[in-house]
């Protein structure tokens, strides 16, 4: 695309003398587009439209991004291009402010922008440099105290990670440039740099260099820059979807590591989780390209690095450039004047890693609010520093092969490179695993506890051969792999991959494919509870919104009133094995719906303990979805069933009552304790419906851990004696406990259900197990099969509601984006399905001729 020139502007004013100033400039800019430019621009717009749909379909990262920031970026980029070049940077800054207000609201957003403006303003006070620096340090320190909670501030906690992200590093770079840069910069450039549009939705942001940010702005043909941006966005989305694949299908918790094969899976999956950072960085830099910022490529084939230096140059080059600019070069230049080159390089590299280690903790502080000081973290950086120093000294003495202009690459060299790549990949997987471990003991116990298997050696060799082959191929084809044609092909392949995954969720795909792919579209990644997965630095820091409730609320658009149910106001501790219960006589509004409990803490009306003549009672036990979290009192599925059956006079022999004993997070063990307390059986139920959920096993592990750590016996005597026979050591870590418990969890849950059955039968009622997933849950058939087999195995009749939501848009069945409990429509669906199942079993609930026989 040709840029507007003075001559074209002059020619427009010559033809239209009434046009002067901005209108002439604008018309000249538009007139400067050739037909081919317009065609290419059209292609970019088409790509943008497609990518916007993809971002939305895959719910990329947070609702704040895919609902607000992404459409703003797409629309803004088109408008930006239509503006004359000199207006674009100001427009970008303005758009960045708008994005902040859109995500944070007017009040919080204005605070964020205001504090930022003060910081930028301090940099430009008409005072000596040292005065400005001192003032900045003072304000920074004050903000630090406030971030640590030592000072009260009038803005909310959600703003901190974004404020930190915008200023914690960029201010350092900016002050450095301010000191040395001789060019005058405009306020638009300054605001565009600090409030940088995509930053509001991505707390972990590349450390942008101010000089590069300015220099790269439309330094090439605009359409070429946009094309590159589109490529990077596609690449970023592919990385993010691949990250979800790893997260959903490959990650395991340390407690699940039993064999060397598990250990390999754990290590590789952990390292692969870094794809999320790489994906986000590609996406961010790609978005900035759409506004003309031709920023450097990042994370280029980083999994195929062949040495530590190579990795350092590939992985996060924004960090590398930042360190090189403010630490490495100044140190090296100072040292090299009085010391040997080798000594200077070693000292400068060590200092870079010491600063990197500190800065990672500093970043953790601004994003998460606490300091990160762990032995594994310190050792990880020390080890990396040592390796990089050794690598640098080697390169100083032997030189580094630079591929870019060398005439050809021999196959032998490429094979050697491939072997080095495989070695480096292995080492990084081990190091990453170490880094992810909260303690050295946790790491050694996991590695030491892995049972070797011969087959794993085959897997290891096969895996390494694949990595080595990929490394060798990339090395061998280095000259051609980055050609424009190949880049376009790669982008098209990436788009096809995204389209393929999305296509797998549509009705055209087989059900088995749909169940897998639909999880990839789900940004919530609910396969496992976050607390059982041991995840590393980046998993925590890149998902900062998950660990900052207020930011999560802002990002998900979650209203302030939509609090979680499990608070002290709604729940209370008990001294028995139930651990907690719902408070009696609650009368609150929860998720904008009335929520009341009776004098026994049941989400139900008051019932006389003595059953009326001819009344058939069904007790319903389960977790929060049985309680009816997020729906009104009269919309819970048990209430709907009761109302419907009564209206239909479905039971000729007498009335029917459904008693709701649902309590959030209750495991089968707590249900057993509830039954043992006679709170249920005192009402003489005829049938007890036990609702089970896919999270049953995980919750049971957590519950047993809780009881073990508290030194309390389980409510199931048999399960308790099995635990005793396992000789659990006091003071064992949660992971170690989980590892011991995992092989026995099916047995332990089965024992709980056997005792539940006995308890119910003892009181003359009949137990029925109902498997019910919540909407948008992963429908893991294995989990359902296991739970149904366990309950059936102990003699409980079962009902399988795995497919209760099939044929319905599950999105429309949840309370909200941030709350996946079934909504009123979901409860209605469940109620209808349960009634259908009950009608198919007339002997069970007395819906029909045998009603009088079962009623007591």
């Amino acid at each position: 695309m040709s840029q507007q020139t003075p001559s074209s502007s002059e020619s427009v004013t010559a033809i239209h003398p009434e046009l002067t100033g901005w209108s002439a400039e604008w018309r000249a800019h538009l007139a400067s587009h050739s037909v081919s430019d317009v065609r290419r621009l059209g292609m970019v717009v088409l790509w943008l439209g497609g990518l916007l749909l993809a971002v939305r379909a895959f719910r990329i990262e947070s609702p704040a991004f895919y609902q607000s920031v992404a459409p703003l970026v797409a629309g803004g980029a088109i408008i930006s291009h239509l503006l004359p070049k000199r207006w674009r940077i100001g427009f970008f800054a303005l758009l960045s402010f708008v994005a902040i207000w859109m995500v944070f609201g007017l009040r919080e957003g204005t605070w964020l922008i205001g504090i930022g403006m003060v910081l930028v303003g301090l940099c430009h006070l008409p005072a000596p440099f040292w005065v400005r620096l001192t003032l900045l340090l003072g304000v920074g320190l004050t903000l630090g105290f406030a971030r640590a909670g030592q000072l009260q501030v009038p803005w909310g906690g959600a703003a901190w990670p974004i404020l930190g992200s915008m200023f914690m590093f960029r201010l350092i770079v900016y002050v450095y440039d301010l000191r040395h840069m001789k060019v005058r910069t405009s306020w638009s450039e300054r605001f565009a740099y600090f409030f940088c549009l995509p930053n509001v939705a991505f707390p972990l942001f590349p450390v942008l260099d101010f000089a590069t940010f300015r220099r790269s702005h439309y330094d090439r043909n605009a359409l070429e820059i946009y094309d590159e941006g589109v490529r990077w966005i596609v690449r970023g989305l592919v990385h993010l979807v691949m990250y979800r694949m790893v997260y959903l299908f490959a990650t395991i918790s340390p407690a699940q590591v039993e064999t060397t094969g598990d250990l390999m899976q754990y290590a590789v999956a952990n390292y692969a989780l870094y794809l999320r950072v790489s994906g986000q960085f590609h996406l961010i830099v790609g978005l900035l390209h759409l506004f003309g910022f031709r920023l450097p490529e990042t994370h280029r084939f980083f999994y195929l690095a062949s040495s530590f230096s190579d990795l350092w140059r590939r992985i996060n080059i924004y960090w590398k450039d930042f360190m090189q600019k403010v630490v490495y070069m100044p140190t090296l230049f100072r040292l090299k004047r009085g010391h040997s080159e080798t000594f200077s390089v070693i000292m400068a590299t060590l200092l870079v890693f010491a600063v990197t280690w500190y800065m990672h903790s500093y970043q953790w502080f601004w994003l998460l609010g606490t300091w990160l000081w762990s032995a594994t973290d310190a050792l990880f950086w020390l080890f990396l520093a040592t390796c990089l120093v050794a690598n640098s000294v080697w390169e100083l003495r032997r030189g580094r092969a630079r591929m870019s202009l060398t005439p050809g690459v021999s196959l032998r060299l490429s094979v050697r490179h491939g072997v080095q790549t495989a070695g480096m990949f292995t080492l990084m997987c081990v190091l990453w695993t170490f880094w992810a471990s909260p303690t050295i003991e946790g790491f050694t116990s996991m590695v030491g506890g892995a049972r070797p298997r011969a087959i794993d050696a085959v897997w290891l060799l096969s895996g390494l051969s694949v990595v080595a082959a990929a490394g060798a191929w990339v090395h061998y084809r280095q000259r051609t792999i980055f050609s424009m044609a190949r880049r376009n092909t790669t982008t098209a392949l990436g788009a096809m991959f995204l389209l393929g995954v999305w296509g797998g969720t549509t009705g055209m795909a087989p059900a088995s494919v749909r169940s897998v792919t639909s999880q990839l579209l789900d940004g919530k990644l609910n396969k496992r509870d976050a607390d059982i997965l041991q995840r590393g630095y980046y998993e925590k820091i890149v998902g900062v919104d998950r660990f900052n409730g207020e930011l999560w609320r802002v990002y998900s658009g979650r209203p302030v009133g939509a609090e979680v149910f499990q608070t002290e106001q709604n729940m209370r501790n008990t001294s028995d094995a139930r651990l907690d219960e719902v408070r009696p006589t609650l009368d609150i509004v929860f998720s904008d719906k009335p929520l009341t409990t009776n004098s026994l803490g049941m989400r139900d009306r008051e019932y006389p303990v003595v059953k009326g003549a001819g009344v058939f009672r069904v007790a319903v036990l389960g977790q929060s979805y049985v309680l009816g979290s997020g729906v009104a009192d009269d919309s819970t599925f048990d209430a709907l069933i009761e109302t419907r059956l009564r209206a239909e006079r479905a039971r000729p022999a007498g009335d029917i009552e459904f008693l709701n004993f649902g309590v959030p997070r209750y495991t089968p063990f707590q249900q057993l304790a509830l039954l043992q307390s006679e709170r249920v059986t005192q009402f003489s139920p005829d049938v007890v419906l036990l609702f089970g959920h896919p999270n049953e096993f995980l919750r049971s592990v957590n519950y047993i851990q809780e009881m073990q750590l508290a030194g309390r016996p389980l409510p199931s005597a048999r399960a308790d004696s099995l635990l005793t026979s396992l000789s659990l050591k006091p003071g064992q870590t949660r992971d170690a406990l989980t590892r011991v418990l995992r092989p026995y969890i099916d047995t332990l849950v089965a024992m709980a259900y056997a005792d539940i059955r006995a308890q119910i039968l003892r009181h003359g009622a009949q137990p029925v197990f109902v498997y019910l997933p919540t909407p948008l849950d992963e429908h893991d058939p294995a989990l359902a099969r296991t739970l149904l087999a366990i309950t059936r195995g102990v003699g409980i009749e079962t009902i399988d509601l795995t497919d209760v939501y099939v044929g319905h848009d599950e999105e429309s069945l949840i309370v909200a984006d941030w709350d996946r409990h079934p909504n009123a429509k979901g409860h209605l669906l469940i109620a209808e399905r349960v009634m259908k199942e009950l009608r198919r079993r007339p002997a069970l609930v007395g819906l029909g001729e045998r009603a009088s026989a079962t009623s007591r």
Binding site: T212, R215, F333, S392, L405
Partner: protein, 84 residues
């Protein structure tokens, strides 16, 4: 020091960092930093060479892409530092 600065710099880069490379492929505008020809170590070595060869002093903040990303930029930097 009578030879043109660009030619001297090019010869040094080819000799020090690109042995065996086709000299014709390294033009005065080939991006040196973004193409990976000049990494941090190579940058320091190049600066040391420039300082010694032209008897000039280059500051740490000047060792960046603004000044060193191409032979043309390097020549401009040296020229600006040489006594008139």
């Amino acid at each position: 020091m009578s030879e043109p600065i660009a030619a001297t710099v090019k010869a040094y880069i080819l000799d020090a960092f690109l042995p065996g490379a086709d000299a014709a492929e390294l033009t005065d505008d080939t991006p040196l930093i973004s193409e990976g020809i000049l990494d941090s170590l190579a940058t320091v070595r190049l600066v040391t060479f420039l300082e010694e060869h032209y008897n000039i002093e280059v500051a740490a903040y000047e060792a960046n892409a603004d000044n060193l990303d191409s032979i043309t930029l390097i020549a401009n930097l040296v020229r600006a530092k040489l006594p008139v």
